[in-house]
């Protein structure tokens, strides 16, 4: 699996193996045992994965971390690895070769209790040896199995890989660059107060708590057997105010007795019946404490009453996690096993509600009346009042706690300092004399302070003889702890670097596609002649890319005369796709295109959008070759040469021209069509061709278009049907209806002379076209070539097609009615009998 990263660009850098690169992803105390190339099977897709089998020294456990690649392998930098899946190798972890009906044996599943199975496929190569990978995993599983099945495996180190963001992960990895260690003095104390009050005076405990050379930063003070009225032993009752008052009295006295050279505040106090732990911190370090959680574990009668048990406080100071436990374990010489059981129960039960257990802390301090006794060496029960070190040593040989710790029965991993003080139990209250009562209890080191964790140094460990109200003597220990702390300046620098790297990675890995060209030129584009252009988009970035044409207006990615295919697609790495762009200046789109041409020098700009990346603008241009279709009557009357000879730019000027001067009275194209149809009249007997604007125009139509747009001398090229169609289009395609802007007025006119008032207000070309058209139709109807009703209906709707009136209920009949004013001879003679001569003139005009 030693794939050499072969894409190192300059020859000077030593080639790094994939393993070298993957290593950068992990912390110093984490070792990569093996890496393995595989594909994860998701549905029908196989996706590149890199599996790393990793062991953690701090956790003492193993895991497989599956990475996905940001770029196509081979790997060149660690930034290209994204954590995809984390498998803790615990008792539920399974690696199974897939044999379930698969044709392929090169598959395996990984699963844990929470997850899976996830299917992987591998391609056997010399460097990628599944047997080797599998064997290493199996050996990790075996070494895990050696642990007590009950033991909780520590997979906390994996949280750095599965729960936190990229930036945090990177920061964690570079911890060594900004972590410094700050000395903190911790004063741990324990005292079984034997239900006695705390004593009189302002600071009765000063000799115990306030005597160190320099003020401690943290006090953790554990008390046992706080005064509890016998009736109130039941837990619920003791919780109430009576006990709260006692708790407060004690804390007040404690606060008054602390080191006088610093200001303190209580961080937290936790009490289980008569066992109380209070953590007090210097005010100046209080802001550095970011977390504090409390917890109790009850033991004693029925393991629930809480007369015995433990209380704990967990806190985070800067980057260090500290845990303090105060416990009162089972009493009496013989109950060693009970004490061990109490200890284990507290360890099991002490899970703070953020999920942290005692062992999840960097620094653990355990104080309390642990009640371990001195296993009677005959004749040695009572050390003299001035015992020397030898006496303590002798006593401690028989100390149950030390014995049990040696046997691995309790306090595994904990350390205790040398004991250089007299047994702290049991004294006659008020004296330094050991129990003189009938019971004659043997002296013992019941009250202890132990610690576990790194960078802890004990500075003092002693008892206080002169505090005498209890049958126990108070005990204290002072520690210097090096707390992990962020150096603010260094941290900021590293953080900036990390952020920069993350930004760079994001910017560098932006999906990108290239387009063959950003200007698509259709060249010459003509009315009713669809043209297509293809262009290629290709993905030359290292990621699969999704692209789409972005909607610019509501639901439209392009102007209606364009059609894009495909509108969206996915491009695999190094693949290309041809985009087909079709332009069709049709009956439906001509008006819009002419409007566009008036304002712009392009047909459209498309937005090619790359998912999570940049947008590319694609400009669509070409030369629209002008034609009479779609132009207004006014524009056509301004031409001085065939429309086919105009350029797009010239037609743009022509369209934008709104002077009232015209070269001809009516468009030549219109006149020619009417002329032809008039002459064809007899052949068109009975019907004007029906007209549907959506129907496609045949090739015949284009012949006519060219004939009209070139002022050709050739004979009329098409039949009457096509000519009629062209006539209708000529009237229907311009943006403005012929009778605009008087459509509404005209539809409400009841007689011709009233209507004529409006008609006379139309621009001369429109007016002339209208009158000429009506004469032609009237003549046709008169000769019974056309059906009056049909013609009135068709032309009415075209000439009066705009505005809100089209929604009127009687719009259609009003159109017909209006047309009849002008084309129905009966109506004509009825309404305006004196117009006969005029109409005769104009009919003559048709024949010219």
């Amino acid at each position: 699996m030693e794939t050499v990263g072969d894409s190192v660009p300059n020859g000077t850098a030593p080639p790094r193996t994939t393993l070298d690169i993957v290593k950068e992803r992990f912390k110093e105390d984490e070792v990569i045992l093996s890496i393995f190339d595989a594909y994860q099977i998701i549905g029908h897709e196989y996706t590149n994965r890199l599996l790393a089998l990793v062991s953690s020294a701090s956790g003492g456990t193993f895991a497989i971390i599956a990475f996905s690649y940001l770029r196509t392998p081979p790997l060149t930098t660690v930034n290209e690895l994204i954590i995809n899946k984390v498998f803790a190798i615990d008792s539920s972890f399974q690696i199974r070769q897939d044999s379930m009906g698969s044709i392929n044996t090169q598959q395996f599943d990984l699963s844990t209790a929470e997850d899976g199975p996830f299917k992987y496929y591998y391609f056997p190569t010399e460097s990628s040896n599944y047997e080797d990978f599998h064997a290493k995993i199996t050996s990790c599983q075996r070494s895990m199995a050696q642990y007590d099945p009950e033991a909780v495996l520590n997979f906390r180190w994996l949280n750095d890989y599965r729960q936190i963001g990229e930036v945090k992960q990177e920061l964690k990895k570079r911890e060594s660059e900004y972590i410094v260690y700050e000395d903190i003095h911790i004063f741990c104390a324990t005292w079984n107060v034997n239900n006695k009050p705390c004593g009189d005076g302002e600071n009765p405990l000063r000799s115990w708590l306030g005597h160190t050379a320099q003020p401690p930063d943290i006090y953790a003070i554990g008390l046992q057997e706080l005064y509890a009225p016998a009736k109130a032993m039941a837990y619920e009752m003791v919780k109430t105010t009576q006990m709260g008052g006692i708790e407060k009295t004690w804390i007040d006295k404690i606060m008054a007795s602390l080191h006088p050279d610093a200001k303190y505040e209580v961080l937290g106090t936790q009490r289980l019946v008569a066992t109380m732990l209070t953590v007090i911190v210097r005010q100046q370090i209080r802001p550095q404490i970011t977390r504090c959680r409390l917890k109790t574990v009850a033991r004693g009668v029925f393991n629930a009453l809480g007369n015995k048990g433990g209380v704990g406080i967990s806190l985070q100071l800067n980057e260090g996690n500290l845990c303090f436990i105060n416990s009162h374990l089972a009493a009496h010489m013989a109950n060693v096993e009970e004490r061990n059981a109490d200890y284990n129960a507290i360890v099991q039960g002490m899970t703070f509600d953020d999920g942290r257990t005692i062992s999840d802390h960097d620094h653990i301090f355990w104080v309390g009346d642990l009640n371990y006794r001195i296993q009677e060496p005959p004749g040695q029960q009572r050390p003299g009042p001035m015992s020397d070190a030898q006496t303590y040593e002798l006593l401690l040989q028989y100390d149950q706690l030390r014995q049990e710790m040696q046997r691995g029965k309790c306090f595994e991993g904990y350390t205790e300092g040398d004991i250089k003080f007299r047994p702290t139990y049991k004294y006659d209250p008020g004296t330094d004399t050991y129990d003189s009562s009938e019971k004659q209890r043997a002296p013992a080191y019941c009250d202890r302070v132990l610690w576990k964790g790194t960078r802890i140094e004990q500075l003092a460990y002693n008892s206080i003889m002169e505090i005498r109200q209890s049958d126990h003597k108070p005990v204290y220990a002072v520690f210097r702890v090096k707390i992990k702390t962020r150096d603010a300046v260094k941290y900021k620098r590293v953080q900036e670097e990390v952020l920069k790297a993350v930004d760079k990675r994001e910017n560098d890995n932006q999906p990108q596609i290239n387009v063959e060209k950003t200007v698509i030129d259709f060249g010459s584009v003509r009315f009713n002649e669809p043209v297509t252009q293809n262009f290629t988009v290709f993905n030359n970035c290292p990621l699969p890319v999704d692209f789409s044409f972005k909607e610019k207006d509501i639901h439209a990615i392009c102007e209606p005369w364009l059609h894009v295919d495909p509108r969206h697609d996915s491009l695999l790495i190094d693949s290309a796709r041809s985009i087909r762009l079709k332009m069709h200046v049709s009956v439906r789109t001509i008006a819009g295109l002419l409007r566009k041409i008036r304002q712009s020098d392009n047909f459209d700009i498309l937005i090619l959008h790359v998912e999570n990346g940049r947008d590319i603008f694609i400009t669509v241009t070409g030369d629209y070759q002008p034609s009479c279709f779609g132009l207004s009557m006014e524009t056509m009357c301004r031409t001085d040469r065939p429309l086919g000879e105009y350029t797009q730019e010239q037609i743009k000027q022509l369209i934008n021209d709104d002077s009232p001067e015209y070269r001809v009275t009516m468009p030549r194209e219109f006149f020619l069509l009417i002329d032809f149809l008039y002459k064809q009249g007899p052949k068109q007997e009975g019907a004007f061709p029906s007209y549907d604007s959506r129907q496609s125009l045949g090739s015949q139509f284009n012949l006519l278009r060219d004939w009209l747009d070139s002022w050709s001398d050739e004979p009329f090229p098409v039949n009457a049907e096509t000519a009629a169609q062209a006539l209708l289009l000529l009237l229907d395609l311009p943006e403005q209806a012929l009778l605009e802007p008087f459509v509404e007025d005209l539809l409400t006119c009841s007689n011709k002379s009233r209507a004529m008032d409006y008609i006379s207000l139309l621009s001369p070309p429109k007016r002339n076209v209208f009158m000429h058209l009506c004469m032609f139709l009237r003549a046709g109807i008169e000769s019974q070539y056309y059906d009056l009703q049909q013609v009135a209906s068709i032309f009415g709707r075209i000439l009066l097609r705009s505005g809100e009136c089209t929604a009127w209920m009687d719009y259609h009949s009003r159109c017909v009615q209006f047309m009849r004013l002008f084309i129905d001879n009966d109506m004509e003679s009825l309404g305006n009998g004196n117009d006969g001569a005029g109409s005769g003139d104009r009919t003559a005009g048709l024949q010219a």
Binding site: K85, T290, G306, I605, D615, F617
Partner: protein, 239 residues
């Protein structure tokens, strides 16, 4: 309105929770508290893309090709201990793209309006860019005027004072900068972010509005108040 926002917040918390609980999603963590959207606008050739490049890469891009479309860059910055992800849209300056680029103004929290101090025409067009910006963004959008190419003192056509007056009259923030030397580039982007953040703090920016250009990601619940946790636990009985 505040009720709606609390629901949105809850939703975000839920998403954060799901992301924490769902290891498959580790690839998409939130590295930031806010996202601010910026647009960079101004005439062709004033150096918009170079400013973006200088800001994200701390490098000058010589021979920068014309932007035909909208480029996109991100950078995470810190304002007042909050991580803010700037999502910067660098638009094409060519006149013919003017209409298309208008669709990108929407939802910008910050607009960097750039002119070239050595070409007066680019300065003269500012009022038209400003009109677009005012019409197409919301009233709280922070507009920052940048006079780019401040390194080209010898061919200067627009004085600092003149532009400063224009900026003051129109209530714009203003700096002369150089994408070439990097001078004031960082400042312009960061000042804009600070101003936006200040607007949020002072309640001038409605985070609920879809067009505020700001997305909020509540930080993960790692540092909740100590006292509430402590009392919360105190009341629990362990037996």
């Amino acid at each position: 309105m505040s009720k709606v926002w609390s629901v949105v917040n809850k939703m975000h918390e839920r998403i954060d929770y799901l992301i924490e609980k769902c290891p498959n999603m580790t690839a998409a963590p939130y590295n930031y508290n806010y996202i601010f959207k910026y647009i960079i606008i101004g005439d062709m050739g004033v150096g918009k893309s170079c400013l973006l490049h200088q800001f994200t890469e701390k490098k000058f891009m010589a021979n920068c090709p014309h932007t035909i479309g909208v480029e996109f860059g991100t950078r995470i910055i810190e304002v007042d201990d909050k991580k803010i992800k700037l999502q910067i849209w660098d638009t094409a300056g060519q006149e013919r793209f003017r209409a298309v680029t208008r669709s990108y103004y929407r939802g910008a929290a910050g607009a960097l309006m750039v002119y070239d101090i050595t070409r007066r025409s680019t300065y003269n067009h500012l009022s038209s860019w400003l009109t677009d910006t005012r019409n197409l963004t919301n009233p709280s959008t922070v507009i920052f005027l940048i006079g780019n190419k401040s390194d080209l003192e010898s061919t200067r056509e627009v004085t600092y004072e003149e532009a400063k007056e224009f900026a003051d009259e129109n209530g714009l923030m203003f700096l002369e900068a150089s994408a070439m030397t990097g001078q004031n580039v960082e400042e312009a982007f960061l000042e804009t972010a600070r101003k936006i953040y200040q607007n949020i703090q002072e309640g001038r920016l409605d985070l609920n509005a879809s067009e505020s250009g700001v997305q909020h990601r509540p930080s993960q619940p790692s540092r909740t108040s100590l006292s509430s946790e402590a009392t919360g636990v105190k009341d629990q009985c362990s037996c």
